[in-house]
Symmetry: C3
């Protein structure tokens, strides 16, 4: 069984990464080449020439067309071959697959499955990443593990206590009760830690934003949207100021935005951002937070790659689940449902009909 | 068929290597984590958390207990889980395997097979390694070959002539007759070279110890103890001084102690020491001999890894045996017998009964 | 099915590479050790000792005999064992395979198949490489691809336009018509580009040789000889000076000599030289041309290794052929015929009969 559904939008690049040049990426085992067209939109093609399989990303971009770097076959942004060397008639089958693409919330999204099902309304909501009421930035890292291990990691923040003890972890996270709920495509884990001492990271943020020093109410509301996006609403407010009841006005709020894209069964592209609703104009803080979160995620990366290696060494191991795994279990159930739903019929690749021989 | 028996003691560390911190090693395909407890004895656990398989060696040691570095499950030195995050009831199945362990003759020994059979009396005699009548030291190296290739190497010292020509090798070793005998768990190869010129290494030792220069009687008595230990009684005495008849009083005597531990079918941990019965107080000589032997074994390492690679490239090759292989053939026969004996019934891992839920 | 025939001569070294020392090479999945004998001729043996498989190339050469670096078995240049350690009788089966060898046109050739069929008349004609009427030199590079991808590359020079645009490529190569013909063991592709502007490389050569600047007639006559040799007759002459009709007297002519030797199904040794018929005494030009061609072939190497990787990622891909692939299709047909012809009966290795026990 596949480890990921194909009929879904997956982030394949940060907006700034895609320029008027060829960029190679792998999504759901598909090798892709992407580039920005003259009109500023993005085109994504299969990264293998129809003729001899050389990756098109080794070729050259001229305007909106890609020239293969070996024998010079030219493809337009629909993947149709428009020129062949030393011959005038173009073989009608000469094309490479093109993929539905969308750009939203600072990510470029690709739909590796049936193009007929690619509905832009299904792109996950990550609006905090380009909403003027929020400020932030993020990065992409390649992690050598099943993308679901990253999702597991994010669905249960208990691990902060043990993995990120010097920044955001604290005993309260491992001890506080939480509530897990779910819908058809979403699963949510909510944890409130009331009247606690803030961990180093949050103590610094609320002091910087409002001068407050003292006990806090801390929240983590983790929301998974199948198959691969998790937005986490995090923050602290002065203890007793009403945050648990809905009044966060005296607190500081951030969103940890995460969307993870399988490359293969054992590697993934992890796109994340951290957006905040305080001190919006401080570019230095944006920089500091981005690098701080990157360093925290570096700690996770070591754990996740070691875990993947251990899983490879224990084929067929049946995992035991703890109470803390409630959110992650729902997450995996929702993904499995999507995979099962599409395993009924095969995905039909979009074939470009040839209108005229050049 | 397995390449090694499981019901045996294998060296897994030099005594000094095991401290009050977590050390990862692989023995007979088992990933292990070991540490020294508060009482000074050593504990060895399976190096994979029961919950999500993260190697426990990536976690932290507190007193005698190991905390997993991901979600904070705590294990005692019997492998029983004593704490879980965010829950009070501990799953009765929550444990990792613990292994019988012993410390003797400067090595830490582990028994990867059925714990009920782990009898300390079966630890190989390597007493020269901590006997005050002998002085010496050793090292551990990781060699990328089947552990039996290292044993082959040691059972036939003819190779000294061709591999170690500048130190201990000499034509006499390849030419002198030898006698091979065997018992139920041991095989012995005895070679006397009488009235010869000493090779560079031994000429230097006897001159340093007694000022003697001249022809020598040289001996090599190689004793294998199944499955993986070889102690070699080596030395020279003035020619005609009676050493072959039992009077070694005017000679110099060393023991090359070797015990080899399979990591996998094609890699092993090679523990060795060189102990001598002369110039006991000279620390400089101990240092010099340890580094000298290390350099000689470095020559073997190149040969052994090249041989393993050649074996991998010739699957199913039937090896031809020469007269010099008599000792090695017995060695392999004794190992095969041990493997066959235990392939009758599967090894029962020691499961820790849960006495009370914490 | 094999990707290469065994009953053929393959280049395994440049003449200067083989000295009175042991050199390891892999040809058609055979590990070989080669050396120059006292009489100056070359011996090639299987690179694995009969006793314990250690590569003989790790041993030592004494005169014409090789001593294994582990236990000292000695082999003569026929592969027969002539000495064993600690025993006087030599096992009659003790030998390693020896291979037919020839030295011609600056290459050392080996025949990995049935020795009875090794006919020196079958060595490909590459005489330009040591003919005093021509001057030149070459190199060997190891390319991580099926050797037939290198042959594909050479059979269709259209790729020069896209891969080598700054030196020998020009639009004319991709546009000019060509003629493909074939015989029983050869396939030829002829392309004339008449009255064109010379590309940078050739413009420089003809200016240097004769001062000529102006339009040229350019030719490329690619001749494949099964299974792995391609000699390309290339050059330019002043336009209209009669070169297409056979009078090349006012032009400059070069031969790109190529012979490619499979190591495995996905790696090969690519031997090449560039010989010219002008400015024969200019050593600086020889040097410059050798390094210039090496740099052009470096561009091919990147393409070929990327192509092999793409092929590995698309198992079972059916390749489409363009008009430009006519020569390459014949080349592959001729190779396939040779492979099919020899798959009837197995190759009998040459066993050295033992004349006398040493």
């Amino acid at each position: 069984m596949s480890t990921f559904p194909l009929n879904a939008w997956y982030a394949c690049a940060y907006d700034v990464e895609v320029k008027k040049e060829l960029l190679a990426r792998t999504v759901c085992k598909h090798k892709l080449v992407m580039y920005r067209k003259l009109d500023g939109t993005v085109a994504i093609l299969e990264d293998a020439c129809w003729h001899r399989l050389l990756p098109l990303s080794k070729g050259r971009l001229h305007g909106d067309e890609v020239t293969c770097g070996y024998h010079g076959l030219v493809y337009n942004s629909d993947g149709r071959c428009t020129r062949m060397p030393s011959q005038e008639t173009i073989n009608p089958s000469a094309c490479v697959r093109s993929f539905p693409v969308a750009e939203k919330h600072r990510f470029v999204w690709v739909w590796p499955g049936d193009p007929a099902l690619a509905d832009a309304a299904l792109i996950p909501d990550m609006h905090w990443n380009d909403d003027p009421a929020w400020a932030g930035d993020g990065k992409m890292i390649r992690v050598k593990c099943d993308y679901r291990l990253v999702l597991d990691n994010l669905m249960d923040l208990t691990h902060e206590t043990f993995v990120h003890g010097s920044s955001i972890g604290q005993q309260a996270v491992a001890e506080a009760p939480f509530v897990a709920t779910h819908g058809n495509r979403t699963a949510t884990v909510t944890r409130w830690m009331e009247g606690i001492e803030a961990p180093p990271f949050w103590a610094g943020q609320i002091r910087h934003a409002s001068g407050y020093e003292g006990a806090v109410d801390r929240w983590q509301i983790i929301r998974f949207e199948a198959p691969a996006t998790i937005n986490i609403d995090v923050g602290v407010a002065p203890a007793g100021a009403g945050a648990p009841q809905g009044d966060r006005s005296r607190g500081v709020n951030g969103y940890v935005l995460n969307t993870i894209t399988p490359e293969s069964d054992t590697s993934c592209l992890y796109f994340w951002a951290f957006a905040r609703n305080y001190c919006l104009g401080e570019q230095r803080l944006t920089h500091e937070l981005r690098e701080g979160v990157a360093s925290i995620f570096g700690e996770d990366e070591l754990i996740l790659e070691a875990q993947q290696q251990a899983i490879d060494e224990h084929p067929g191991y049946s995992f035991y689940n703890l109470n803390i795994d409630a959110g992650s279990m729902w997450m995996r159930k929702l993904i499995d449902r999507m995979i099962a739903a599409e395993s009924g019929g095969p995905v039909k690749p979009r074939v470009i009909p040839l209108r005229s021989a050049a």
